[in-house]
């Protein structure tokens, strides 16, 4: 802990002009978030569970069931790539509804997936029959162990537990069309649904996490509440108050920092011709209410086609003092998979030019697709750390980014702390998993 505290202090001092010593990756992030900038632009660990499983070549039926394997795989793969923080998340949308008895499909190559064709909630009366969640059921014990291990092994302010946020949980429990219909047409029922999700499904899960040593915070993904799945107005009306209720209850009753609604109002319009500055600004404004840190946030959207000047304008307009909001610039997962390394470098060069010159820029990838070539990720991390070195070069086009040289994962893994767990998992294969809650 002392080490982390020193990193934090050094990061804050460095970011505020006292540039002494060599920054750790964590210090680099603190310098960016709490000061102007660090030594270079940081690259945050992305959501990477499917991709990490593919890189580590471990069977899905073990990986998504065994906390130690999942945590070790994600830590190893993220360290291999050289990200500045770890993000450790399994299939975060599934655990609560699975434990409550929803029907799931399990496969050899992919994460478990809920079958909303046979939904857990078919009619209002079902709410009285389902729950409260029993933390000994389904994969909840594994999820709680993931939270504990994440906080133990990854440590620091970015280590946390996870849960599925209320609106996304409702989509998992009854299907998106019925959930959105309730919000639009059956307001009293929608209120009951949110109360059920918060108190019967999520809170017992949070309580189980809070009882683990070291787990001080938990974040709830909410991609189903991204735009245009929900309008910014719907997120403001339903998702934000729900997140605030969970935050308040978590703090008061569990001493846990609860961040629900992450990725809600994330601007995910796919058609560049429909990009709308006014709606984007609304979405970013709502995301600020939900994120525990005050940032200008991009995540899963088709960011490769965004006019990034808009995000910069938003960050500057909403900054405090003379500093803009920190900007999370997220490279789209499909862009990372489908582009050439040269295209990826060009995009990073463009974004650093627009967003990075005045500091407060962090790179991110919302969800790395399973089959993304590892060379693309290595290239991106290398490019961000090279082009993002402060002071930013006047003409970034003069900086050549050579293809990074990296050891193949298996070679690199030998001798790493995670090697035994990963190699053994490959040898052991996986027994069929068939339970449904």
């Amino acid at each position: 802990m002392a080490h982390q505290t020193l990193e934090l202090i050094q990061g804050i001092l460095y970011g505020n002009g006292l540039r002494v010593g060599r920054l750790s990756p964590t210090g680099r992030v603190f310098a960016t978030l709490m000061g102007q900038h660090g030594d270079t632009v940081p690259f945050m660990g992305p959501q990477i569970h499917d991709h990490a499983m593919t890189v580590a070549r471990v069977p899905a039926r073990k990986y998504y069931w065994e906390a130690e394997l999942l945590v070790n795989v994600q830590i190893a793969v993220e360290r291999w790539y050289g990200f500045d923080t770890y993000t450790i998340i399994p299939d975060a949308y599934n655990f609560e509804v699975e434990a409550l008895g929803a029907k799931f499909i399990y496969s050899d190559n992919a994460m478990p997936t809920v079958d909303t064709n046979e939904p857990l909630i078919k009619e209002p009366g079902d709410l009285d029959k389902i729950g409260p969640l029993d933390p000994s059921k389904g994969r909840i014990p594994m999820a709680v162990e993931v939270a504990r291990l994440s906080c133990e092994k990854a440590s620091g302010p970015f280590a946390m537990g996870f849960f599925c946020s209320p609106f996304s949980l409702l989509c998992q429990a009854m299907g998106y069309p019925k959930a959105v219909r309730a919000l639009r047409r059956e307001r009293a029922f929608a209120q009951e649904l949110f109360e059920w999700a918060e108190n019967q499904a999520i809170f017992p899960f949070l309580k189980a996490q809070s009882e683990q040593p070291g787990v001080k915070q938990s974040s709830g993904a909410d991609a189903w509440a991204a735009f245009p799945n929900l309008t910014p107005e719907m997120v403001d009306e339903w998702v934000v108050p729900s997140a605030m209720r969970l935050r308040e209850r978590g703090k008061k009753e569990l001493g846990l920092t609860v961040m629900a609604g992450l990725a809600a109002a994330d601007y995910c319009e796919e058609d560049p011709a429909k990009f709308d500055k006014q709606i984007m600004f609304k979405c970013w404004a709502i995301a600020r209410k939900l994120f525990i840190m005050d940032v200008a946030l991009s995540a899963m959207g088709r960011t490769q086609d965004w006019p990034m000047e808009w995000l910069q304008e938003f960050a500057v307009a909403n900054g405090k003092g003379r500093r803009k909001l920190p900007v999370y610039a997220s490279l789209n997962g499909r862009f990372m998979r489908d582009s050439t390394p040269e295209q990826i470098v060009d995009k990073i060069r463009q974004w650093i030019d627009i967003l990075g010159r005045d500091g407060r820029l962090l790179f991110f990838i919302a969800n790395v697709p399973a089959d993304t070539p590892p060379a693309h990720i290595h290239t991106a991390v290398h490019a961000v750390h090279t082009l993002g070195r402060y002071p930013i070069a006047g003409d970034l086009s003069t900086i050549e980014i050579a293809p990074p040289v990296f050891q193949p994962f298996d070679e690199w893994l030998k001798g790493q702390p995670e090697a035994d767990v990963i190699f053994k998992a490959r040898e052991a294969g996986a027994a069929p998993r068939t339970f449904t809650g």
Binding site: T54, T113, T116, P177, L230, E270, K274, I279, R334
Partner: protein, 214 residues
């Protein structure tokens, strides 16, 4: 006045009134309006107007979902009359399904609704469809197009297997292949050898019509 009845159906679809829409269809049929006109000037006009509002950034996914639900509800009383009158506009079949291991059917449902409104006979294989069911459906129905959907970056890789099996069985040249779903892209469609990629339901419908030369 028929125009008023058609406009009421259009409004019900656009507003996503899934109880009102089938009631209005029933009334129109009982009033003796031709089923094909009810389909084209009421139901299809409604879903196309919804698509226009979506394209103009005036409608968002919740609105489209409610409209699609109203469309599906409206089609229930209309379908038997359409079958009787052999009313399908193009007479082309479209086999659609979500690949094995994947059970996300939201996008697939929207695409099926749009294709249906555009005059395709849609054979919906549902979700979690293994390759041999796609192959069997292509042999049985001889569709103009087969559409493969996936929602996860892991399951979308199944599409390669389905297309390879179509090749292996000598069926590939007889059918166009479209792919779609959140993790897919034009680049991915090119990589797996699909004929088209549907970015969203409206785009899928337009591309399907292009593929059959309509």
């Amino acid at each position: 006045m028929p125009e008023e009845k058609y406009q009421a159906i259009v409004d019900a679809i656009v507003q996503g009134e899934d109880e009102e829409a089938p009631r209005l269809i029933q009334q129109a049929l009982e009033a003796g309006l031709p089923p094909l006109d009810v389909l084209q000037q009421g139901v299809v006009a409604g879903i196309l107007k919804t698509g226009d509002l979506w394209a103009a950034n005036e409608y968002f996914l919740p609105d489209v979902i409610l409209a699609a639900e109203a469309f599906k509800a409206a089609m229930k009383p209309l379908e038997p009359h359409l079958k009787e009158s052999q009313a399908r506009q193009y007479g082309k079949k479209f086999v659609i399904g979500v690949v094995e291991g994947d059970v996300h059917d939201l996008g697939k449902g929207l695409v099926a609704a749009m294709l249906s409104s555009a005059g395709f006979e849609v054979i919906d294989l549902g979700i979690n469809v293994p390759p041999d069911r796609f192959i069997g459906a292509v042999k049985e129905h001889q569709p103009a197009i087969v559409g493969l959907g996936a929602y996860m970056t892991t399951t979308m890789l199944q599409m390669k297997g389905v297309i390879a099996e179509l090749e292996r069985q000598g069926l590939r040249h007889k059918v166009k292949v479209m792919v779609g779903g959140a993790p897919t892209s034009q680049e991915f469609a090119d990589e797996v050898g699909a004929d088209a990629w549907g970015k969203d339901a409206l785009d899928a419908m337009h591309k399907a019509l292009l593929l059959i030369g309509a």
